[in-house]
Symmetry: D2
Subunit: 348 residues, 4 copies
Amino acid sequence: MIGVGIIGYGYWGPNLARCAAEADGCHLASVADLSPAARRRASQRYPSADIEEDWRSLIANPKVDAVIVATPTRWHFELALAALHAGKHVLVEKPIASSSREARILIEEAERRGLVLMVDHTFVYTGAVQKIRDLITSGAVGDIYYYDSTRINLGLFQADVNVVWDLAVHDLAILDFVMDASPLAVSATGAGHITGSPENMAHLTFYLEGGATAHLNVNWLAPVKVRRTLIGGSRRMIVYDDVEPSEKVKVYDRGVSVDGEADLPRAEEELNRLRLNYRMGDIWTPQLSVKEALLTEMEHFAQCIENGTKPMTGGSSGLRVVTLLEGATQSLGRRGQPVELAGMRAAS
Amino acid sequence: MIGVGIIGYGYWGPNLARCAAEADGCHLASVADLSPAARRRASQRYPSADIEEDWRSLIANPKVDAVIVATPTRWHFELALAALHAGKHVLVEKPIASSSREARILIEEAERRGLVLMVDHTFVYTGAVQKIRDLITSGAVGDIYYYDSTRINLGLFQADVNVVWDLAVHDLAILDFVMDASPLAVSATGAGHITGSPENMAHLTFYLEGGATAHLNVNWLAPVKVRRTLIGGSRRMIVYDDVEPSEKVKVYDRGVSVDGEADLPRAEEELNRLRLNYRMGDIWTPQLSVKEALLTEMEHFAQCIENGTKPMTGGSSGLRVVTLLEGATQSLGRRGQPVELAGMRAAS
Amino acid sequence: MIGVGIIGYGYWGPNLARCAAEADGCHLASVADLSPAARRRASQRYPSADIEEDWRSLIANPKVDAVIVATPTRWHFELALAALHAGKHVLVEKPIASSSREARILIEEAERRGLVLMVDHTFVYTGAVQKIRDLITSGAVGDIYYYDSTRINLGLFQADVNVVWDLAVHDLAILDFVMDASPLAVSATGAGHITGSPENMAHLTFYLEGGATAHLNVNWLAPVKVRRTLIGGSRRMIVYDDVEPSEKVKVYDRGVSVDGEADLPRAEEELNRLRLNYRMGDIWTPQLSVKEALLTEMEHFAQCIENGTKPMTGGSSGLRVVTLLEGATQSLGRRGQPVELAGMRAAS
Amino acid sequence: MIGVGIIGYGYWGPNLARCAAEADGCHLASVADLSPAARRRASQRYPSADIEEDWRSLIANPKVDAVIVATPTRWHFELALAALHAGKHVLVEKPIASSSREARILIEEAERRGLVLMVDHTFVYTGAVQKIRDLITSGAVGDIYYYDSTRINLGLFQADVNVVWDLAVHDLAILDFVMDASPLAVSATGAGHITGSPENMAHLTFYLEGGATAHLNVNWLAPVKVRRTLIGGSRRMIVYDDVEPSEKVKVYDRGVSVDGEADLPRAEEELNRLRLNYRMGDIWTPQLSVKEALLTEMEHFAQCIENGTKPMTGGSSGLRVVTLLEGATQSLGRRGQPVELAGMRAAS
């Protein structure tokens, strides 16, 4: 029974705390937060947990085997590193750190000490994303042509990171999980519309090895909430709509193939069209697991600690995502000028 | 009663022909097409029109006062120029020509001869786009932050132009009509997934003067048909969904403003958020004119000829759109490297 | 090549005329209408057809082998009977007649003369309804539990029939085609809200032999257009949404079965639930034929005449539907008091 | 600070408990449940509350000022009556009791003792239903023509009540709150498809004084979840879709009025239409309060106790709803034969 301590009981922390309390294989041992109000809420909800103001006390607590870092991004590195130094396993909210340099230091430290280092790429643990990965790896989708995601809503603006680091990170984590191809280059455009705030809108195109592309549309200033991803393949296409209450993943038996019959006479009005065959087949909406992703993730964390196995979203996954965020940010500042990412996987 | 002749009775031509036949102020005098089957259909449908194989006969026909060019793009310039030379008013399917150079020649020729030169930017004549322009020019939207459009479906692949020249042209025509700000630069990315065909997927970001951005997502290889545009402004936001049968334009009284109350105490968990005020107000769905856009357009064409007035979508509008298409194509070939467009309006 | 004459070129007639002109196996020989404007439109559209003011001339025309009756309901009987008397095959717009007595006379007359008598139950010829029938007859749906349809919109109010005779007739025609079970009784409620007009809103429940029920919700005074039918079966359930542009039929592998494991201990909070097993499986959206239903219907009409075969929607189908309309109307006047329909199939 | 005790910590009880714990003006003093597992959960969640096996101990507890009855329906009466006898205020889950006789006894007992008796008609406390009531009472909707609701999903089958008592009760509670007109008669049809279980599908039509009708479609055996109500009025119409995450209430400026211009010449094809004017105006989607309904309800309960005022959903509201359920059940057993409800309001 792994004792879990959580640093940060603000926006996302309470969800992680609840799952740590409910998950098989672990229990909530301690919560640390600077805010008296947050500590009061945590204490009322978890009367048996040790509630701390200073995160150093939480890390030092012998009841705590594993530390969850659920603070603003800028503190991820320092807290995660301190926890690793204290011999604790670590789960860090996304993104794993503020830079690839920091992420590499965390990975090395965890490896040196034989500790589990995991990043909270929550969507990877959803029934939807697991199903999409199955569809891709089984060959049902065929060659991947593109991944095209829209992740927009009104708020919540972050003070210390732009919309890319806040929202695109989700898609990059999903991409890292479902696709094998490494990104080679990125072109990113965007804008900040609110004075004094970072970019709240961005469009990112990643060129992947093998010819596929991935495009992400992220926006904190949209009137409606959209969470929709299209995945185009040579055999089938997927629409993943996370706002749908139950029909989140639809598989379309649709596509285009080059028509081999070259000798058909064609009327003038068809001369302008390519000789293509448009396939419009059935749609299939698989039933997905309804288990809460965060709970699945927490149990996976506990099992990795228990068995000494690598997490599905380990430090290297966190590093790859941060590297892409860095490349995108660089291009964003240059109005879309492409930034090479070659050698990224190798480097990580 | 203006006599209208149409060159090209393939995919879009029959719609233009029908509107020319039904519109007030004009009648369908002649149809020309190389295909015998097309001529047969035209003849059966319009027994009183002169049906021609050779477009030269149509242009030379004294019953024809105005010529509609509804052929593949690569022939627009030659046919439109010939019609102008023959002293005929001209309406060209979008895009007006294959290059800005060609567009300029057409404009000059029409001006020299005092003829109407108009481009078939159909969406400009829809109730939806007219309403959006009203909302913007009346100040209801406030400062425009962005225009973000998704225009995707399965097919129809074109042989002589890529998806940008086929689909993005619609959004650029709308943008040209509803917004005053000139584009300063464009970054475009994209890919072609079908061997032997041009790019079937592209993402375009235009940087406009004054700080707004416009992003267009166009794709011939998507499993679903989407026609959705978000327009974000400082006062209100618009969602324009052209696939909706009746509720195409929704106006959201939503937005974000910087909160002036700086002295409120804040809990730790809020430190990471900006001091912003999120406004979530009512939604308003105006009833739109249900008159067919193409019919409205045709009557506008007839009136411009009758009264010697400038069309809403005249040659200069066609030129501006083609110039943007050229810039986008250039950037597309360079993986998003930004292409400057400054001086474009001036030049046109 | 069967010559088709159409009586009535008002709201629906032009669609029938167009299909008669385009369908394989027949051509449009004549159109009759009392209105000069309607005759002018017909003449312009079909210059080679004989255009008549008096329907008697159309029926007497030797070029006319088959007559389509596309007038208001109250004239269906008289015109169809006259056409049969003249030895012409007949296709009548729905409902086939104003009463079951009239319908029976038409059936007898057609049989006596060996003529085809068909009713325009258009939906039967859609890809959606054909697919639904296949799903039911193949056993994929299992035992049918219920058919529950909502068919509502704003307008068009009819002067001579109420909403049941105008809208419910569609569902009854579909039911007659896809289900074998005979209706045993009907309970109908409804109301008229506009002074001087018949009922514009009604709810009909049919009790079918074998225990299934069919419910129809029809309304001319609804703010939105809905065309949605749920079919519940023991093995699968269907949602048929005719407003959807492409995904009209969805098959749900969902249902409830009685749980056999009776010895499980149960907590107090579960005592109140039945021991049932809820099955939540995949959804399947079959691709449907996109051929226009009315064209399919017209070609079927021509083939039945050619081959002397029985139409899928023959006179007896029209009679059964009218009998149900009569029963529903009777119950409607008595605030839902059930009206027995037993022996209906036998009688017909 | 009112001490609240809850009897029943099964399906709905935990929600009521949480709101009792969080609401201003009250606190959670005690929880009673027969199930050891339920008591364990309650104890862990609310360590400071008295957890009881026997509800008599809860009622007798001096810390308990008000009792919430959250058990299966068949125990509502006995427990509520015992609580009133002990001088406690009472909030009963819907429906208030199993019969109108029982409901009347509860009302009398509460009045005799000057105690608050309230029923948990949760929807009445939603922002959506409050807005609908405002729209109706302000005259914006005009004369109400109809209320037409669809409330269907897969499960949860109840053992002791049919679908009418489980689902239709919600709509009847809403109707009782938003409309003044008394129901005069009811016709109900339905069926049970699962052996050994009560009716799982029903359609209810209520005839209201003044000519309006209310129709409810309830179903436990539907493949999809629908929660949609149409309200038709002479001036405007409302669509209330509770499944929509944010746009739950839409107000349509649409309708039909009789056209007064009687002397217009009309073409033949229009003879069959009534001389009506169809109004298709704007749609308005008001922003609704996002406060949780159950929390609003709990604070209202506390205020009524504090101030001695009548609750919005008091015993008499519960009685009226139960009386309608009784009438519907009676008609349901007779295949829709109408049951008179006249005098119901008077009687209550």
